[in-house]
């Protein structure tokens, strides 16, 4: 038998007013308490107009403190209300399950404690990127990696497909306690990238619009200029395919024999 408290984590989408789904809005409006993690205080105010008890998760961020502590405090804040038997909604910018630890973890813990918990998807920055840059991930394939994870984990690059690096603004932050990293950190990243890409290879910096009156930010630069370019927490870096794919004749012959 499930306990009375419930949790649903929903996505707000990326652009205020434009992306929220009807079901996500409904969960926000009907919840006893809403916890919000928005990328902008206007988005947070927008959510506060949907429910009388909206609590910001922004207060848990503190530069110099590991973000894992921040994320765990967020999870604990959410779960403490679920344990009180309340109908709780976590409203997260973009998609609550994309590059987001706390929404997944809070659902996992709530379920483990016998509560009903689930996630409703939202429009992520990735979705906006495909639309704004005219990229179809199915055409050449597409690898998404968090920049620090890419640096620290010996990830290999498939140069025949798109490579999309997230959170380049804090690339190389092993402490998880910075909100930006200096150019020396990004130089380490660039050195790794230059093992695959030529220095003058064109890459794209991308930021989707958070407010409907904002333009999408799209800027083309050389790979080698990445370390000297201003990169915000919101900036995503897109590497187009460098090489053409080749056919795997052995597999093709193997499959043809099956006819």
């Amino acid at each position: 038998m499930k306990h009375k408290g419930k949790l649903v984590n929903v996505g707000l989408g990326m652009t205020l007013g434009a992306h929220i789904t009807p079901i996500s809005r409904n969960y926000i409006e009907k919840a006893d308490v809403v916890f919000v993690a928005a990328s902008n205080n206007l988005v947070e105010h927008w959510v506060k107009e949907m429910n009388p008890d909206v609590r910001s998760l922004q207060k848990y961020y503190q530069e110099g403190i590991s973000r894992m502590k921040t994320y765990r405090k967020m999870v604990e804040a959410i779960l403490s209300e679920v344990r009180l038997g309340k109908n709780v909604c976590g409203a997260f910018y973009g998609h609550p399950g994309v590059f987001a630890w706390a929404p997944h973890e809070s659902i996992r813990q709530a379920k483990a404690e016998g509560f009903q918990a689930h996630m409703e998807p939202g429009i992520s920055a990735e979705d906006c990127l495909y639309a704004d840059l005219g990229i179809d991930p199915g055409r050449f394939g597409c690898t998404h990696l968090e920049a620090s994870q890419f640096m620290f984990r010996n990830k290999s690059i498939d140069s025949t497909s798109y490579l999309i690096l997230w959170q380049v603004g804090i690339a190389g932050d092993k402490s998880l306690s910075k909100f930006s990293t200096p150019k020396e950190y990004k130089k380490v990243l660039v050195d790794i990238l230059l093992k695959t890409y030529p220095a003058d290879f064109k890459i794209i910096l991308y930021e989707c619009a958070v407010l409907p009156i904002e333009h999408t930010f799209i800027k083309e630069i050389n790979v080698s200029d990445l370390q000297d370019t201003a990169i915000s927490l919101k900036t995503t870096v897109v590497f187009p395919p460098l090489h053409k794919t080749t056919l795997n004749d052995d597999i093709i012959k193997q499959v043809e024999k099956l006819k």
Partner: protein, 62 residues
């Protein structure tokens, strides 16, 4: 602090800036005044928006 955010929401849910040459054209098309937008934007402030990565020491990340 009281922010009338309705104008922004209405704009976001009905129009895309990509369809216009500039913001002025967009506002004209929707009948929303520049002042209404300016009043809201005065409170604009970016938040920290990092929710990842997970800790290197997490068991499921080994």
């Amino acid at each position: 602090m009281s922010i009338s955010i309705k104008a922004l929401e209405e704009l976001g849910s009905t129009q895309s800036l990509k369809q216009f040459n500039n913001i002025g054209e967009m506002l004209t098309a929707t009948g929303i005044t520049q002042k209404a937008i300016d009043d809201v934007i005065a409170y604009n402030k970016e938040h920290i928006c990092v929710l990842f990565p997970e800790d290197d020491d997490e068991p499921d990340n080994q």
